[in-house]
């Protein structure tokens, strides 16, 4: 079907200079394209990663900048801490409570925004407002909303006769509150990513499908979603990585920033930060960073496989013609 397959029948094999150049062009230029990124990355991106790896095997003193090699001691210490396993539980709980609603909502809102609405820029950029308002303000708002005694939600609940929710005492409710804060901040972001990709889908497919009688929902399932497959993979992976590293929201959830007196909302990155910047034990914090890295890789791969199987390939994105249209065609 492509025009490129129409070649002249018997092309003489002349290896001209420009041909040779174009062969090198083909082989080398990809590396040139990725080199700006990798060169800078090697200096400022890779260095911190290697540093984190090296000090994870040491008992490292920040001020003196020196450390004693201790092998895997730091890793073992972490795996023996009850707080670590509590933090792991919390991290997964918050991850599930935040990522799943967030992505569902983002897809839904992006689909709404993909339509031919008036004042497009206004509606589309509006969803990103929670993302740009400075964290201090958002933190303040949510503290007002979720305060145990004088908060807005509990005030409302007690007004209508229901018991107040112990946001800062019960682990589950603290996770709900934090997940709400996370979703609030990041849904618009994911919405715009999905929207940008939806805009790239050829409008003709939709027109043709509409002519066929496929409704918006069918079009969405059979045209939009399969076309979005690379973006959906992107969104799922970045949401996984980000979701397992949630840090800012649990940190501002109370005045101490340490995950609660009973570690109710302590996430792994928060625990990592407390050990590193609170107890000044950077060796241990680094070890925890790498343990988390392994966990993220595993979950990320799992989610990747799930997404790949769920979202069908482009081959089947053709909208099935409705019966009436099929009758028309065969007439």
């Amino acid at each position: 079907m492509s025009t490129a397959s129409l070649k002249s029948p018997k092309s003489v094999r002349v290896i001209s200079f420009s041909h040779r150049m174009s062969r090198w062009d083909l082989k080398l230029s990809p590396y040139l394209y990725i080199s700006p990124f990798f060169l800078m990355f090697l200096v400022v991106g890779l260095f911190p990663i290697i540093f984190t790896a090296v000090i994870s095997f040491q008992d490292w003193d920040l001020v003196r900048g020196s450390g004693k090699f201790v092998g895997f001691d730091q890793y073992i210490w972490i795996l023996q801490q009850p707080h670590f396993w509590t933090a792991l539980r919390n991290t997964f709980s918050i991850f599930l409570l935040s990522t799943i609603p967030q992505l569902a909502l983002a897809i839904f809102i992006a689909a709404m925004l993909d339509r031919n609405i008036r004042a497009k820029t206004f509606w589309r950029m509006g969803v990103l407002l929670p993302f740009v308002v400075a964290p201090v303000a958002v933190g303040l708002i949510f503290n007002v909303v979720f305060a145990d005694n004088f908060g807005l939600i509990n005030g409302f609940l007690t007004d209508i006769g229901l018991p107040a929710i112990q946001w800062h005492k019960e682990p589950f409710w603290s996770h709900v509150a934090i997940a709400t804060m996370v979703n609030y901040r990041w849904t618009g972001y994911n919405t715009l990513i999905l929207l940008a990709s939806m805009q790239a889908v050829n409008r003709e497919y939709y027109e043709a499908a509409t002519v066929d009688g496929a409704g918006p929902f069918r079009q969405f399932l059979y045209i939009t979603l399969p076309s979005l497959r690379p973006t959906l993979i992107f969104v799922v992976i970045t949401a996984t990585i980000g979701g397992l590293q949630i840090f800012d929201e649990p940190r501002v959830f109370d005045q101490f920033g340490r995950g609660g007196a009973g570690q109710q909302w302590l996430t792994i990155t928060l625990y990592l930060y407390d050990i590193g910047w609170g107890q000044w034990n950077f060796g241990r914090a680094a070890a925890m960073a790498w343990i988390l890295f392994v966990i993220i890789l595993l979950i990320g791969l799992l989610n990747l496989l799930i997404t790949r199987t769920l979202v069908r390939d482009e081959g089947s994105r053709i909208a099935k013609p409705s019966r009436r249209a099929r009758k028309e065609l065969s007439r």
Binding site: A4, K27, I34, F41, G45, M112, R115, M125, V136, A137
Partner: protein
């Protein structure tokens, strides 16, 4: 990716034909959506705009506004904004300028390096491509909380502490950006276009310019916006590496707070001021979200 619609092309406008026949017209997807869509969008917008609106309400009140929780703005916004801007410790205009140009340079650099790399990973086949991409994505999984420590050592040894360069250089590339452009270009650029350009004798770079760059425009705009906002709101690294005389905006505005007593009306007035430049950027980025950008290129 196939380029021709799989169903037979209809020559007439379907609604027209149906209307002439007196049948119920079907809605083409391009026609205006109904009331429900707008209702949903309004709800979404109100909840999304709430923090900014609320910040404005408190920022136009006084120190007790946070406790009293009024529903409407007070009259003090300009006074509070003036207090923020003229506060000597805050150094507002220097911070604003530093934030603007550092965020701009960071975002521009990320977009450029990510588009180049994304193009290569998405559309060019080369040895080690998939492995390198996987490596790039994997680096995103390393938590960044400790990153400040080695970065500070590096920049301190170079003597760059206190300069805006120390903010810009570590942020010039982004694994996230590369991954995003890769996936977007994979999806948005039909291979036929590239092959067509190559058959026409275009070199790799020309193909990139004429096919890749225009296709990448919406994604690049989004990436620019996200990276800009991220750089704009970044606190911890600028706090560590910059002097108070030469801050970025979040660091400068943080001086309005303290452990013991905070006048939140001033703090939130500062928040509103710091958000305004971002809103201007919204308008620019939003216009780049144009649908069917490749449709014209694909026809015929």
């Amino acid at each position: 990716m196939s380029t021709t619609p799989p169903i037979a092309i209809v020559e007439e406008i379907p609604n027209d034909r149906q209307r002439r026949r007196g049948e119920r017209t079907t809605h083409i997807r391009g026609s205006r959506p109904g009331f429900i869509v707008y209702a949903v969008l309004t709800v979404v917008f109100i909840s999304a705009a709430f923090p900014l609106w609320w910040s404005f309400i408190i920022g136009s009140g006084d120190a007790s506004s946070l406790r009293e929780r009024p529903w409407w703005p007070g009259g003090n916004f300009l006074d509070n904004a003036l207090a923020v801007v003229s506060n000597p410790a805050v150094n507002f205009w220097a911070a604003l300028w530093n934030s603007i140009y550092s965020s701009f340079l960071i975002a521009a650099s990320v977009v450029i390096t990510s588009t180049l790399a994304g193009w290569a990973f998405a559309k060019l086949r080369f040895l080690g491509g998939p492995a390198l991409l996987a490596f790039v994505v994997a680096t995103m999984a390393v938590p960044q909380q400790l990153g400040v420590v080695p970065l500070y050592i590096l920049f301190s040894d170079l003597g760059w502490t206190g300069t805006i360069g120390a903010i810009i250089v570590p942020a010039l590339t982004s694994a996230f950006g590369v991954f995003w452009m890769t996936q977007y270009l994979r999806q948005a650029v039909p291979n036929e276009l590239i092959e067509a350009a190559r058959v026409d004798g275009a070199s790799m770079i020309r193909t990139f310019w004429t096919v890749g760059v225009p296709a990448a425009r919406p994604a690049a705009a989004m990436l620019f916006l996200f990276i800009f906002v991220g750089a704009w709101n970044n606190f911890f690294w600028p706090f560590i590496v910059l002097d108070r005389q030469n801050p970025t905006l979040p660091v400068a505005l943080s001086l309005l707070q303290s452990n013991y007593f905070v006048d939140y009306s001033i703090v939130l007035a500062g928040v509103v001021l710091a958000t305004i430049p971002l809103l201007l950027l919204f308008i620019f980025a939003g216009r780049q979200l144009v649908s069917g950008i490749m449709a014209g290129a694909v026809k015929g």
